[in-house]
């Protein structure tokens, strides 16, 4: 049968669903806790510490969720494409499951990002395309019955779609858009320090939430796909699936 001792410093030990499942289960409460704490700190800074913006008044206060949500929608796409590519290259079960688990959370951050006021602006349009890429990935995988073929087709779509991420990022530079330019870049920030801190802490909070959500979803996917495997049956028999 399987060995129970983990070889040290071997990442591949956790690349099998059987070993990753309990690990993810142990990690989830920590990421939820961090997400809650960081959200509370972030909201406090956003509404009680950060000053009124000189030009945009109080309306600017949406940036504390708007910018982190936009970052998450782009970054999660790249992470999803990475796992999809890993699954395609190494045929590892968990990689494709990770990609599949990330897609809905990525789409979630895409939705509030482009928000209620719609114009055919380069930034908004490219972000809308990102949302369609997420939805297309989910729909394509759902449409193919054979799991391996579904993973492969999804992976190809995800990888091709990566081209859209730099387009979103640079859209405010390349085209003359309604959306304001980047306030934060590698060279520095044009914002008040407390505003920047509020944004960064909220971004971290969104990160922690997204990791927890993805780990939770990947555990469900593992159960769905491996429910006939011996190790799942053993855990079920012992009542240790949670």
């Amino acid at each position: 049968m399987t060995t129970t001792t983990a070889p040290r410093f071997n990442l591949f030990w956790f690349s099998s669903p059987q070993t990753f499942y309990p690990l993810a289960g142990r990690l989830i409460p920590w990421f939820i806790g961090l997400a809650v704490i960081l959200t509370l700190i972030g909201l406090y800074i956003s509404f009680a510490v950060a000053p009124t913006d000189a030009t945009q008044g109080e309306s600017y206060r949406i940036i504390f969720i708007h910018v982190p949500a936009a970052w998450m929608s782009m970054f999660l796409y790249v992470v999803m494409a990475f796992w999809a590519a890993m699954g395609l290259a190494f045929n590892t079960r968990l990689s494709s499951m990770m990609a599949t688990a990330i897609a809905p959370t990525g789409a979630l951050w895409g939705r509030p990002t482009w928000g209620a006021y719609w114009v055919w602006d380069a930034r908004l349009t490219s972000e809308l395309i990102l949302l369609f890429l997420y939805l297309g990935f989910i729909a394509l995988q759902a449409a193919i019955d054979d799991r391996r073929r579904a993973d492969k087709a999804g992976a190809v779509l995800a990888i091709i779609g990566v081209i859209n991420v730099p387009i979103i990022y640079f859209s405010v530079k390349w085209w003359n858009t309604l959306h304001q330019g980047a306030s934060v870049s590698v060279k520095g920030s044009s914002m008040a320090t407390t505003m920047l801190w509020g944004m960064l802490i909220m971004a971290l909070a969104f990160w922690m939430y997204s990791i927890a959500a993805v780990l939770y979803r990947v555990r469900t996917l593992i159960l769905e796909r491996e429910r006939r495997a011996d190790w799942v049956r053993e855990l079920a028999a012992q009542g240790r699936l949670k």
């Binding site: 008044g57 309306s59 939705r111 928000g115 939770y216």
Partner: protein, 59 residues
């Protein structure tokens, strides 16, 4: 940052609907995702249980 009163806080300098609407949108999508995560997990748990019962009855 001092708001002076709760009214001033909720009105957000006249952008109350826009600012609080955006935050409500995030709360709503996160709540929907958590609900979806939980219901899908419950369905998977039931599938595993069914599989387990089937394996037991055939053994």
């Amino acid at each position: 940052m001092t708001w002076g009163s709760w009214d001033a806080f909720w009105s957000m300098g006249g952008y109350g609907l826009y600012v609080w609407g955006s935050y409500a949108m995030v709360v709503a999508v996160v709540a929907i995702e958590i609900w979806q995560l939980k219901s899908r997990r419950r369905a998977a748990d039931n599938e595993v249980k069914r599989e387990h019962a089937r394996a037991r009855s055939s053994a």
